[in-house]
């Protein structure tokens, strides 16, 4: 009894702002404690599992990263290096000719600027619309709520291809609320006298974004809806009791909570719009006043077209170099946003 009392008398050996190190008489040394721990049977299992897990994760990460390493290596090669079987990753004659050709002949920076304007505006609109619609679907009971949710899923299921032809015609003769818009007048024709011509402009994508109908917008609405469902109703109720209206409550109380999730949605929509070639291919079809966009970047530049034994492989290397240049800005954006990505998801407490 006496000895135990002695043992429990702590002596402070080190004190910093956050930690206090305490020693007491008869305390086992670090080595002894380690040995004690190793003797316990499940410690070994834990260590083995941890090593196994780490190696497995490392392996899968390698599978993800290796193609990038290979493509980066390939992008610095000359056309002779590409087919040289003694070279696997490190080029013999490192060169920047592929990059140079893509920047000059494929109008890389022009494509970058155009795509940035398009993707940024679309992502911003889509994020705001997903927030509003998601909140409306999550927190308000009204007739047709479930039907609207079904429609949100439906817009994701309909293959883009099915609407390709019809969208094409609709953007040539753009009108609101009418079928076969070149025959039957809609709202715009009633007001302005003629349907709008929207081909070769960004407007169709902005319009689709405004309606929450662009690429994978159903997913964003779903994510926002699930997030808002996880926000306790008491928060809004207390705001209402204090005399705040629905919209003020939303903008001042609920929206600040949703910032990480909004960044997640923004990141998704920005990068998916960035790499989109379906809609841009549909809307920009003529070569007059060509608007350079990302899909133009990965084409093989004229000056690099050679006819030799490795043409197919070399052109593939060029395509992928273009691919690397397309995703480079996304990777930079991702490095800044990735902690919000996990945070937004973690805090959301999504429910099925």
């Amino acid at each position: 009894m006496d000895s135990m009392k002695n043992q429990a008398t702590p002596v402070v050996t080190k004190e910093t702002k956050n930690r206090i190190r305490v020693d007491y008489e008869g305390k086992l040394s670090f080595k002894e404690r380690l040995m004690e721990k190793l003797k316990a049977s499940n410690t070994w299992i834990k260590i083995i599992v941890a090593i196994f897990r780490f190696v497995l994760m490392l392996g899968v990460s390698f599978v993800i990263i290796f193609p990038f390493i290979a493509k980066i290596a390939g992008s610095f090669m000359t056309k002779e290096d590409v087919i040289d079987s003694t070279i696997s990753l490190i080029p013999k004659h490192p060169t920047l000719e592929i990059y140079k050709a893509i920047i000059v002949e494929n109008h890389y920076f022009e494509a970058l600027a155009n795509t940035f304007i398009l993707a940024f505006t679309c992502a911003l609109i889509q994020m705001i619309v997903a927030c509003l619609v998601g909140y409306g679907l999550a927190k308000f009971k009204f007739k047709g709520n479930k039907l609207l949710m079904a429609l949100v899923v439906l817009t994701m299921v309909i293959p883009h291809g099915a609407l390709e032809m019809s969208m094409d015609r609709h953007f040539i003769y753009f009108d609101l609320g009418t079928v076969l818009s070149w025959n039957y007048p809609g709202l715009i024709e009633l007001i302005k006298g003629a349907p709008l011509q929207l081909k070769n402009t960004f407007t169709p994508l902005f319009i689709l974004s405004l309606g929450g109908l662009a690429f994978k917008n159903g997913l964003y609405i779903y994510l926002m809806r699930q997030f808002f469902k996880g926000v306790p109703d008491e928060l809004e109720e207390s705001a209402y009791v204090d005399g705040s209206g629905f919209f003020r409550t939303f903008f001042q109380i609920i929206l600040p909570l949703a910032v990480p999730m909004m960044i997640t949605v923004f990141l998704f929509s920005f990068s998916w719009q960035w790499t989109d070639e379906f809609y841009t291919g549909l809307i920009f079809d003529t070569n007059i006043d060509k608007v350079y966009l990302m899909p133009d970047v990965y084409l093989v530049p004229q000056s690099l077209r050679f006819d030799y034994a490795g043409t197919a492989l070399y052109e593939n290397v060029i395509n992928h170099t273009g691919g690397l240049m397309i995703i480079a800005p996304l990777i930079i954006l991702y490095l800044f946003c990735q902690r919000y990505l996990v945070q937004g998801i973690e805090r959301s407490g999504l429910v099925g």
């Binding site: 696997s88 291809g161 492989l313 995703i327 407490g349 099925g352």
Partner: protein, 313 residues
């Protein structure tokens, strides 16, 4: 007294209807978008699949679009296209691909999410790496990756002619044949392992959704399990799995949608590359859409009967 009651009731009703009205305002962009833009496009698309479209000129020389009714011709053709490499065989190939891909993506993403959810060395770095495919494996990159000779070529230099695959099919086949497992099943497994890069690329969003689901499971349940002496294995199957089961439904539906509507999907690429007639392609897309909806309804129905919903009262 009576008067007071009626006032009270009216007030309550008015709050509800005010809330409903506010709800409509919030979802207004989507409703307007559907009614004014999407529905017309949708109806036109259905209409186009029953008509031929021809550019024509009226008496003043102004171009317009003429529709020539074709009835069910394109639908009948799609169903009668039984030849090898035709619509029906591509449809079946697409379905077969789906049968293997959906479970693989779901199991893989659940596994990775569980591992990334636990404490481990370098977790933040692994998370960052695992979510890279989410942002870059769509659109242009999907079609580029579908034709990737570079990685294979470079890897070929490293493993020195093992065929570029991760595991050697012949060795695994030999192993499994001794265990008397059918060769076709082995081939499926080998293909899945060699397609691991594709599976990782397709399971980014699913991983995020699972991770969110795992985070929402209350720590106190795990604590109770530890106190009662449950092993990690038991805890996973008796707590984590049931709690995450709603996410499995969501992910199954999302994976099916994603897999079916991806431009590199067997059926999608067949229709967009091989069918020159736009009306014919549209008709095929609509048949395809109906089948997809049917499959989603079927699978959602099956899975939802196994789902456990935690009551949150």
């Amino acid at each position: 007294m009576e008067k007071q009651l009626t006032i009270k009731r009216r007030r309550k009703v008015s709050l509800d209807s005010r809330k409903a009205r506010a709800g409509y305002v919030f979802v207004a962009p989507f409703i307007l978008g559907i009614l004014l833009v999407y529905l017309p496009i949708l109806l036109d698309s259905i209409w186009f699949s029953f008509n031929d479209i021809k550019p024509a000129y009226d008496e003043n020389g102004v171009a317009y679009i003429a529709l020539v009714p074709q009835g069910l011709k394109y639908y009948v053709f799609a169903f009668s296209d039984m030849a090898e490499g035709g619509f029906i065989s591509n449809l079946l190939a697409g379905l077969q691909q789906l049968v293997f891909e959906v479970p693989a993506v779901i199991i893989f993403s659940l596994f990775i999410a569980v591992v990334l959810n636990g404490k481990m060395l370098g977790r933040a770095a692994f998370r960052a790496i695992f979510f890279v495919p989410v942002i870059i494996s769509t659109g242009i990159m999907t079609s580029l990756n579908a034709n990737d000779m570079v990685s294979g070529e470079m890897a070929g230099g490293i493993n020195d002619g093992s065929g570029g695959g991760i595991i050697n099919a012949l060795e695994v086949e030999a192993l499994f044949r001794k265990m008397a497992i059918g060769g076709e099943l082995v081939q499926v497994v080998v293909n899945l392992v060699n397609d691991i890069y594709q599976i990782i690329n397709y399971s980014g969003v699913q991983m995020l959704i699972f991770l969110a689901g795992l985070q929402s499971i209350s720590e106190s349940i795990y604590e109770a399990c530890r106190i009662d002496g449950a092993t990690a294995w038991e805890t996973f199957w008796k707590v984590t799995f049931p709690m995450i089961s709603p996410m499995i439904l969501v992910n199954a539906v999302y994976t099916i949608i994603d897999s079916f509507t991806r431009s590199t999907n067997v059926t999608m690429s067949y229709i967009s590359d091989k069918i020159a007639n736009e009306s014919q392609a549209t008709a095929m897309y609509w048949i395809y859409f109906i089948i997809v909806i049917g499959i989603i309804a079927l699978i959602a129905g099956v899975i939802s009967s196994f789902i456990f919903y935690q009551r949150k009262d």
